[in-house]
């Protein structure tokens, strides 16, 4: 019997944007951006505040209609596809998701089944199994009967990820999934995302704040500034002092992370400088 959540998407999902312009009313945020998301990989978008990284994610998730250009999912323009068809291929976790008061974890995760149900196709045993899988994969299986409001921040974030997993999509977009979490929970969530790409072949795009964790966990790093992509590639290949200065306006020294052998950014400020800045 086939129980593992995920062999249903053997064809790798193809997500790309071409000549994308995004903005809110007359404020343009993304200018003529083109990008292609590598399948089965964890892609991380980084950049300074207000660089347009969340806007790009919202654009890719068709939450924001582009003023020009287009986003393509499996070769079709996402804006011309039925929204339900998109939802069967791509899930999204917004930055600050809201839940009905006193909702139970199992109920919330079950709401992820929405795009697979309809007027006539309601809840089935298969839906229960998928929700069970999502709870197990995110390590919250024993929390199913608890109210979301009672959980800690880390548990809550896992539940939201479980809900996105219950949507059974090959593509997952996450907007700052580690905000509000302490360092241990940040590592835990990023380990989970890595599991999902390596063991289940999901394609994940996440916006992250922490540059060092991004460098460690990203298979593919996208560095943005002022609504443009400055560099894109494996962190080892693209992260250097020049990139950090260009993207964050920060002088930093790049050392090798002793644990992961990936680049590690050590910022240089005005104080506590035992060595001189170059």
């Amino acid at each position: 019997m086939n129980v593992l959540a995920f062999d249903r998407t053997t064809a790798p999902p193809q997500l790309s944007a071409e000549g994308l312009h995004l903005g809110y009313r007359d404020r343009k945020i993304i200018h003529d951006l083109s990008v292609s998301i590598p399948p089965h990989k964890l892609t991380v978008i980084v950049g300074a505040n207000a660089c347009g990284k969340s806007t790009l994610l919202r654009g890719l998730a068709r939450l924001l209609a582009p003023s020009a250009g287009s986003v393509y999912l499996d070769g079709r323009s996402i804006h011309q596809m039925p929204t339900k068809a998109v939802a069967q291929k791509m899930g999204l976790l917004p930055q600050t998701p809201v839940a009905p008061q006193s909702i139970l974890v199992a109920d919330l995760v079950g709401r992820g089944r929405y795009p697979h149900q309809g007027w006539f196709r309601r809840w089935t045993r298969d839906d229960d199994r998928v929700v069970g899988e999502a709870l197990a994969l995110t390590g919250v299986a024993d929390l199913g009967g608890r109210a979301l409001d009672e959980l800690s921040g880390g548990q809550r974030q896992r539940v939201w990820i479980a809900m996105a997993l219950a949507q059974e999509t090959g593509l997952l977009l996450l907007d700052e999934p580690t905000t509000f979490l302490d360092i241990a929970h940040q590592v835990e969530v990023l380990d989970l995302l890595t599991d999902l790409t390596r063991h289940q072949g999901r394609t994940i795009v996440a916006v992250l704040h922490d540059l060092n964790l991004a460098c460690r966990y990203a298979d593919n790093l996208i560095a943005m500034k002022d609504g443009r992509i400055i560099a894109e590639g494996a962190p080892r290949e693209i992260v250097g002092p020049d990139l950090v200065r260009q993207v964050f306006g920060l002088t930093a020294r790049i050392v090798t992370d002793p644990v992961s052998q990936t680049p590690m950014v050590v910022p240089m400020g005005r104080h506590h400088m035992a060595v001189a800045a170059e």
């Binding site: 999204l92 709870l135 197990a136």
Partner: protein, 354 residues
């Protein structure tokens, strides 16, 4: 990675939790149904001429049995039954309307009586009474038109690349204030007799409820409820916020328009018959959510809560003071004001935005 057998076991747990929630939902619905039956019975039996249960049942069944009990039939079928039916249908309409607004706008204070729909109906009715000297059916039409026009105005003023729930609430509260100002202005220019008539209408009353009103409102309620059934899925998605609902493949803007449209129609149609019965729309959703706890889907329980509140309040309004019949809106207003204060205190305690 966990092993596959775990998934099946956890899936069974999930099914168990879902079934427990469904059970609780049914318990709430059955409990409210019981209360409604009791209130309905009381409405038939109590009055200046107390009836025996036997007489009431025989009279209610008389269209089938052909039996006649002249005086009793007049009181039960001619007076008490239409009044109770209008109370139930109007209560259901207000209850659903409030629950829809609160659900779609994700705000427990966002009910049609707070964000200007009732005020719009009221202003139109007051203008019709004071300026055009209308009454009866024309007055109902004026109230209906006022509610629909106000709703359209709120929706258009709140539009900005789609309608955000927050803007609807703010614009609605603003419109309610404008409507109150217009009403005050109309009152200052009016004659006292007409002012009395207008104020009575504004309080919301079931006096003089006719069977034709009851049947018409019941039919309208049934039609809108049927329209709401396929929309209930989208209502569940909207609870998770616009972004998440869109990501789940729900047509957010269309669903919100249709759900709010249904809410406005229900509120407007009920208001046209009874006047704005204060706070029923505001209270029904939160009360039923309190009963439901973690079990979602508040719309049906809110309808029943609205009916129970309105019918019970009308019984209190008719019989609490000897010799005085209060308009039902006075009683719901009193209960509702206390409820609103409790709700604000609770919201303040938990630190949630009410």
């Amino acid at each position: 990675m966990p092993n596959p057998q775990d998934f099946i076991d956890i899936g069974a747990d999930v099914a168990g939790i879902r079934e427990a929630l469904a059970r609780r939902r049914w318990l709430v619905i059955i409990g409210l149904g019981g209360l409604l039956v009791i209130a309905f019975g009381a409405a038939m039996i109590l009055g200046d001429y107390p009836m025996s249960i036997d007489n009431v049942v025989r009279s209610l069944l008389s269209p089938l049995t052909g039996e006649t009990q002249k005086g009793i039939d007049f009181i039960v079928l001619g007076l008490r039954l239409p009044r109770a039916m209008v109370a139930v249908f109007a209560g259901m309409a207000f209850g659903i309307s409030g629950a829809l607004f609160q659900n779609v706008l994700r705000n427990p204070l966002a009910s049609p009586d707070i964000i200007g729909i009732s005020a719009g109906a009221g202003t139109a009715a007051v203008a019709a009474i004071l300026l055009l000297h209308w009454g009866g059916g024309m007055l109902a039409l004026a109230a209906l038109g006022g509610a629909l026009l106000t709703a359209a105005a709120i929706y258009l003023l709140a539009w900005h690349q789609g309608v955000s729930p927050y803007r609807v609430v703010l614009v609605g509260i603003g419109i309610a204030a404008v409507m109150a100002a217009i009403m005050s202005f109309l009152f200052t220019r009016a004659r006292l007799v007409e002012v009395q008539q207008a104020v009575t209408w504004l309080t919301g009353s079931l006096n003089g409820a006719r069977m034709s009103d009851a049947l018409q409102l019941g039919l309208e309620l049934a039609i809108i409820s049927i329209v709401l059934v396929p929309l209930s899925r989208a209502a569940g998605a909207l609870e998770l916020g616009d972004d998440k609902a869109r990501a789940l493949g729900s047509g957010v803007e269309r669903a919100r328009f249709l759900l709010l449209g249904a809410g406005v129609a229900l509120c407007a149609l009920a208001t046209a018959v009874t006047g704005p019965i204060a706070f029923v729309a505001l209270m029904s959703g939160p009360v039923s959510r309190l009963l439901l706890g973690p079990a979602g889907g508040a719309i049906v329980p809110a309808a029943m809560t609205g009916a129970v509140i309105t019918l019970s309040a009308d019984i209190i309004a008719q019989h609490s003071l000897p010799g005085v019949q209060l308009p039902v809106g006075v009683v719901t207003g009193g209960i509702g004001a206390a409820f609103l204060i409790l709700m604000l205190i609770a919201a303040n305690r938990t630190g949630r935005t009410a």
